[in-house]
Symmetry: C2
Subunit: 333 residues, 2 copies
């Protein structure tokens, strides 16, 4: 039985997860049961939602048990199929990949990929969950009108980079918030009109300068101080879409204390709404087709940040939570 | 020239306004110009929005200047008309009444009232601005579905009492938050299913007990600790309508620091929206007709809290901001 190094959860992180919250175990290759596929992992994805699973608190995602294998999105090649729906050699996407080189996934959770349409790892990025998140959060929940200013935090990240490009395609005025000048340069090259370094001095003033007409739609991928500074620049009838709270990752189980803006909500008639991609499942196919079309037209260019090898999965996860990634964080096996 | 005791703003309040922030001056009766009406004041209204005008901060309402006459909603009898639209003897409603026994209002801001349809002061309460606020905040911004639980703060106040009755009429499940057992009894007699005293011990637990199925729509008339406790009881896809922030009246120009719930917004897909009645002006006539119909059918019963005489206007205003009123706060001259 071949060796299959597998990451398990060693302990629940108390703040920001660290690589030693995980343990690499030598496990045998899994044996697929009826309706399951045995898959050779090609790519693993690390995403902010995974932080929420590493907690005993009530959440939108089912929790991860201690000592159990870590699970997440991946792309791989079918090496054995116990389902009539898939054949060995096919490439599949699933949210149920274990963090291991050979894993099994339920055929019902797998989506067949066409490697001739786009590089397969884009199914984990601009053509997958982050791309769909950007698409629905901006175009549906954000309800933008042509010409409006859209502020996007974590703008060079997996969701932000796609949101900025969609905003440009749709005739909006996208402005980036990111954590380095390099990232902001990348954002501008993707179509963002302006960029703000959130590690600078006066974030509220910097946003005001970059958004002289104010903010109409704010795609909030971080919460925290960026949220606060953006709120104070929102236009009347502005919309705030709460897509992620990665700035709270290091104090996940503690209350977030800070200024509240209810009076501003009233005076400016702001609308703030929490976003979860699952709610749009019925429209995934349409959105995927649109994203693929933009990709093939050269209007949607992905930027990826790739670490190599199964050893690197926890490091990639921590790196992404700290905002050290530059583009969609992936691990190639 | 007859004496016409008139309230002016003596100083901007630093926190909760006090009666000595105002000064009573002996002024002559005003002289109406072209397009203006001279009116004998019958009723004056004091409303939370007036607090916002007593500040130099940017706001939705134009500011009140120091040393100038206080202005607000009122009902009165036309004693002289410089407009072809109105005749002496007619009863009019306007937002431009001075706090004085005889005042002048622009005919363009005046609405003629039919004293045979309902007592004229209801045009300042359940059939006027507070009634319209309850109507649009609940039925439009709140987007309630039949059977949903609606939590309403300041529930026996001008807006809350109407909102609770509309919720009952529409087949919703209204739950009151108010500051005394007497007020809660009154709320229940008006149609609220349950009531919570916000001066009790554990507000979050009390709301959970009174709303066993959670809160679907929260009409927030206060902000502050009631808002916080309600937020923690919101159902998935719950809507929070920010109608007022009277709990912040005593620290109006200071930041409001406290717990923030962005993570909960995301997990529960909550929507929070600021409400301002002006945005619904095009639909006032329809809503007024509906409110009047409910009133005449006995489905909408107003409760009023009346002080007597021009001397009492600042006291009525402060009383209302402190939540000491029991029903719509009015002053009868």
């Amino acid at each position: 039985m071949s060796s299959n190094p597998t990451w398990v959860l060693r302990r629940f992180p108390s703040g920001l997860p660290a690589t030693d919250d995980f343990r690499l175990e030598d496990r045998p290759e899994p044996v697929p049961g009826p309706g399951e596929l045995l898959v050779r992992t090609l790519w693993l994805s690390v995403d902010p939602y995974m932080r929420a699973r590493l907690s005993t608190a009530q959440n939108y995602a089912a929790g991860q048990a201690l000592g159990e294998m870590m699970v997440g999105g991946g792309v791989g090649e079918v090496i054995r199929s116990e389902s009539p729906l898939f054949q060995p050699g096919e490439i599949v996407l699933s949210d149920d990949f274990g963090w291991q080189p050979v894993t099994k996934v339920p055929a019902a959770s797998a989506l067949r990929l066409d490697p001739s349409a786009a590089p397969v790892q884009t199914a984990l990025g601009c053509l997958g969950m982050p791309g769909l998140t950007a698409y629905f959060a901006l175009l549906h929940t954000g309800s933008p009108k042509a010409g409006e200013t859209v502020l996007i935090s974590a703008a060079s990240g997996a969701v932000g980079q796609v949101a900025g490009q969609i905003a440009r395609i749709k005739g909006l005025d996208p402005v980036a918030v990111a954590g380095s000048e390099d990232k902001l340069d990348s954002c501008r090259s993707m179509g963002y009109r302006a960029g703000i370094n959130h590690r600078g001095a006066d974030l509220q003033a910097a946003i005001a300068e970059a958004c002289p007409k104010g903010i109409d739609v704010f795609l909030d991928n971080t919460a925290g101080p960026i949220h606060d500074a953006a709120l104070l620049n929102m236009n009347r009838f502005g919309r705030i879409v709460v897509v992620g709270t990665v700035a709270l990752a290091s104090r996940f189980d503690q209350p977030d204390i800070g200024p509240r803006y209810l009076r501003r909500f009233l005076v400016q008639r702001l609308r703030m709404e929490g976003f979860l991609l699952d709610d749009f499942e019925a429209q995934y196919a349409t959105a995927r087709a649109q994203l693929l079309q933009w990709y093939r037209q050269g209007k949607l260019t992905p930027r990826e940040d790739v670490l190599e090898g199964i050893d690197q999965v926890p490091a990639a996860f921590v790196r992404m939570l700290k905002g050290e990634n530059f583009g969609k964080q992936l691990v190639r096996l």
